[in-house]
């Protein structure tokens, strides 16, 4: 029986041979060594394991591999190669928005999704857009500022 699951990981077609009930989070970390995808709770509450699945921000701990066939998966490792990342990364650096760093890969992907939806976001839209990603270090102000600044610096990219 063919038990393979084909999907696109960071632009490359891959074939996963394993259980359809495995968590996408575990498969990304263990099988594909995408360790920038962080595990903070495995219950869909913290957002540290956020990835972009077919253009939408999801908690990869809440996705079974069976759902991933034919889908497009973007992790921080893939996102880090894009021009959009470059702008957001510089914006995060300019306000020192990364402290312990554990929420940051997910937070960057959440920021990307905010800017895709709202290229010129209001503060409220930013706060709403990152509200599924917990950060215990920053108090969120620096992250909000970074997204605002990226929207300006990267005008036209989103």
């Amino acid at each position: 029986m063919d038990n393979s699951i084909e999907f696109i990981l960071n632009g490359q077609p891959v074939t996963y041979r394993g259980s359809a009930t495995a968590r996408l989070l575990d498969v990304l970390r263990d099988t594909y060594r995408q360790t920038g995808v962080k595990c903070g709770c495995k219950e869909g509450e913290c957002g540290a394991c956020s990835i972009i699945l077919d253009g939408r921000l999801v908690n990869s701990c809440m996705v079974a591999m069976g759902r991933v066939g034919g889908s497009d998966v973007l992790t921080i490792e893939g996102y880090a190669l894009t021009p959009q990342f470059k702008v957001l990364d510089a914006a995060y650096a300019s306000v020192s928005a990364a402290q312990c760093g554990y929420c940051i890969p997910g937070m960057l992907l959440a920021s990307e999704c905010v800017l895709r939806t709202h290229p010129n976001p209001t503060e409220e839209q930013i706060r709403e857009g990152i509200s599924g990603n917990l950060c215990r270090c920053t108090g969120y102000n620096a992250i909000v500022k970074a997204v605002q600044s990226a929207a300006k610096e990267g005008a036209g990219l989103w």
């Binding site: 903070g40 921080i76 650096a93 760093g101 930013i126 509200s131 270090c137 108090g139």
Partner: protein
């Protein structure tokens, strides 16, 4: 602004944004074994025997009988066992660890371990505790006389609950044992605390124990003492694992339920007021230590020293005790005992002011200490106390005066508003003589032949930016570009013991040592040569020696100061409140990097606001923590406090690097009191406990209505 305060891109920025930073869970070495602790389901019981399920090849267990040295974890007093032996003392007390190559199989086998217990009577709440691990008292003046001659005497009790550090990366460590040497690495704040604990538990000489920090996903005190316990357990397993590495990495529920938290407290205040001045305080503080002492002695010390708040109290009596309960041991969390007592004293002062019909802020400032005044421990505030100016700043930022007046008028609509303000300090660095007598910090600078300089110290970068700020100090003193100075995650094989990453001490104390080392290196600099300079801690001359037996002297060389206002709207139908604005001013001396300091202030402030209200954690009668997930233990998200504005007030501390002093803990300490003072104004009632829930608000509103009828 000093040049050094200008922000730079943090040294550890890139690996943390592109996902390449290696946290303990990210390593996948060959032959990795997974460990799972088997824990007591009883708050107190005798261990009668252990029956293991059949273990497949490659799987094994370790327990107390495998501990090669002493079955005690060295923390302060060493009463925490590595693995429980004859009795278990709390729900979660580890009895053994199951180890093997497949994580799921390890979990299955761990669940199949049968431990026979004989349950024993347990104490699970602070009120019924009958054993005090530590008792202290101190004071001065004639308290009885002051109460006798007072215009009015106020007496109230205050309770505070648990608070979970909720670092985003749960606790985890890895260990291996190769050629007679143990290496432990992972998520931690204090490499040399762990080093010391391993030497004792493993019975190894210091050179056969190595501790290395990995990228660490937050600490906030939670990774101060707990990793010493976990390190001993993992290392014992590694010794039995024949060279294979062993990792224990907690799930979120295990982490919340069984690792250290902020001590719940019960504080009783009796305060004498005469002619508008506080003339005496009689304070009784009880902290719930949990089952073992861990850090409770030092947490309690800081808590009671801070208990009279920022106020000048001529007649003072303070008693404190940390009591044993059969619950998870509580430990370090940002603020370290002071958030409990500052909540109590600030609410107390609010209540007195309201009873007197005064604006609480005016009453507080009229009673606040000034430079040169005596501290609670009869030391001195040697340096400026800028509270009046800082309070002024916050009044303007928040529109306090106008709002306080407006909200003081009777409110009858569904939505009611309030504004409140608190003022506080945080003693910078270790309490008392710890730095001089126990830590004795040593740092080194290693200059390579190519002119690059490496900082050798044991400070852990846990998000607070220490790897950047220390490099900035050294680069500045040596006139080097920041790229030429570097600091790696500490490795006890390579770095001296510059002390733990705690007590808001790293930048102020170790940063100053490194500044002095850099000055020496500059004076001896020889191009093209490898050079090493070493610097040792010396206590500044002005410090009045602190005596822990009497609690007399300077408990801290200096203080960081804070003023904060919070504004709320309460929905009287649901009891739910929203924080419509929070404004704060912090004095942490010269910022070594503006962005980094602002990040510390804003992040700490939000934790302090969470402590007051949404971060609800309760233990049931059996002593089991009920809120063990992010579904039940709610920490603030980006939408919870949309307006949070912080300003810095700079008072240079002449004995810190370029005027810097302790920063990290300050913003959390008194935030809860500002929030609850605002709630009191909106609800028209006194609040005496945190966390304060929507149900609590409804309860007050219902009681008020009964009174009206």
């Amino acid at each position: 602004m000093l040049d050094i305060s200008r922000s730079v891109a943090k040294k550890d920025h890139a690996p943390k944004t592109n996902g390449s930073a290696m946290y303990v869970g990210d390593f996948a070495p060959d032959g990795l074994l997974y460990g799972q602790l088997v824990r007591s389901p009883y708050a107190r019981a005798k261990v009668l025997g252990i029956t293991l399920p059949p273990l497949p090849e490659g799987y094994f267990t370790v327990d107390a009988s495998d501990v090669p040295g002493v079955n005690q974890v060295h923390i302060v007093k060493d009463d925490t066992p590595v693995f429980a032996e004859d009795t278990v003392e709390f729900i979660g007390d580890p009895v053994l660890m199951l180890v093997g190559p497949n994580e799921e199989e390890v979990a299955r086998l761990a669940a199949a371990v049968q431990v026979a217990y004989e349950p024993l009577p347990a104490v699970t709440d602070i009120q019924s505790a009958d054993t005090a691990f530590f008792t202290y008292q101190f004071g001065r003046g004639d308290v009885a006389q002051a109460f006798h001659t007072a215009d009015k005497v106020y007496e109230e009790s205050f309770e505070t609950g648990y608070q979970e550090q909720a670092y985003l990366e749960t606790q985890g460590l890895m260990a291996d044992y190769v050629d007679g040497k143990v290496t432990v690495h992972g998520s931690l704040q204090c490499p040399y605390y762990i080093h010391g604990a391993l030497i004792k538990a493993l019975g190894l000489s210091p050179d056969r124990v190595r501790v290395v920090q990995d990228a660490t996903g937050g600490g906030f005190g939670g990774k101060e003492d707990y990793p010493s316990i976990l390190a001993c357990q993992v290392a014992v397993a590694a010794i039995k694992a024949n060279g294979k590495p062993v990792r224990v990495w907690f799930g979120r529920r295990e982490d919340i339920e069984f690792t250290s938290k902020r001590h719940p407290s019960l504080c009783v205040y009796k305060v004498a007021v005469k002619d508008g001045r506080v003339t005496a305080m009689d304070i009784d503080v009880t902290f719930n230590a949990g089952a073992y002492t861990t850090l409770s002695a030092v947490v309690l010390q800081r808590g009671i020293i801070a208990s009279p708040g920022v106020y000048e109290v001529p007649n003072l009596r303070v008693q404190g005790r940390a009591v044993k309960t059969n619950t998870v041991p509580n430990g370090a969390y940002r603020g370290f005992g002071a958030p409990q007592t500052f909540f109590a004293v600030e609410m107390m002062m609010d209540h007195i002011a309201r009873d007197r019909g005064e604006d609480p802020l005016k009453f507080k400032l009229a009673n606040a200490s000034v430079q040169g005044a005596m501290t609670s421990t009869s030391g001195r505030y040697h340096f400026p106390v800028p509270l009046p100016r800082m309070a002024e700043t916050v009044r303007h930022m928040s529109g306090y005066d106008q709002k306080w007046q407006a909200y003081a008028a009777p409110q009858t609509g569904r939505y009611r508003k309030g504004i409140g303000m608190s003022i506080w300090f945080h003693g910078a660095g270790f309490t008392g003589s710890g730095e001089r007598d126990h830590i004795k910090a040593v740092t080194k600078l290693h200059k390579y032949a190519d002119g690059r300089v490496e900082i050798l110290a044991s400070q852990a970068e846990i998000g607070q930016g220490i790897c950047t700020t220390l490099c900035k100090i050294v680069a500045n003193e040596l006139n080097l570009p920041l790229d030429s100075v570097f600091y790696e995650y500490p490795d006890t094989d390579r770095v001296p013991d510059s002390g733990p990453t705690v007590a808001s001490r790293s930048l102020m104390t170790v940063g100053e040592l490194l500044r002095r080392a850099a000055i020496r290196l500059r004076s001896q600099w020889r191009d093209g040569e490898e050079q090493v300079v070493e610097e040792h801690f010396t206590e500044p001359d002005f410090v009045i020696p602190f005596h822990i037996e009497t609690f007399e002297g300077d408990a801290y060389p200096t203080y960081a100061w804070a003023a904060c206002a919070a504004e709320v709207t309460v929905d009287t139908l649901t009891g739910v409140n929203s924080l419509t604005g929070v404004w704060a001013c912090f004095d942490v001396g010269t910022p070594m990097d503006e962005n980094i300091v602002m990040g510390q202030m804003e992040g700490g402030l939000l934790q302090g606001l969470g402590y007051a209200s949404m971060e609800q954690m309760a233990a049931d009668r059996q002593g089991r923590i009920r809120n063990n997930s992010f579904t039940d233990y709610i920490i603030p998200t980006s939408v919870d406090v949309p307006v949070m504005q912080v300003k810095l007030h700079v008072e240079e501390y002449p004995h810190g690097p370029y005027g810097a002093k302790g920063a990290g803990e300050l913003p959390l300490v008194g935030a809860a009191a500002a929030y609850m003072a605002a709630m009191e104004q909106a609800l028209g009632a006194n609040i005496r406990h945190i966390p304060f829930s929507a149900e609590d608000a409804l309860h007050i509103l219902t009681e008020n209505q009964k009174e009206v009828r």
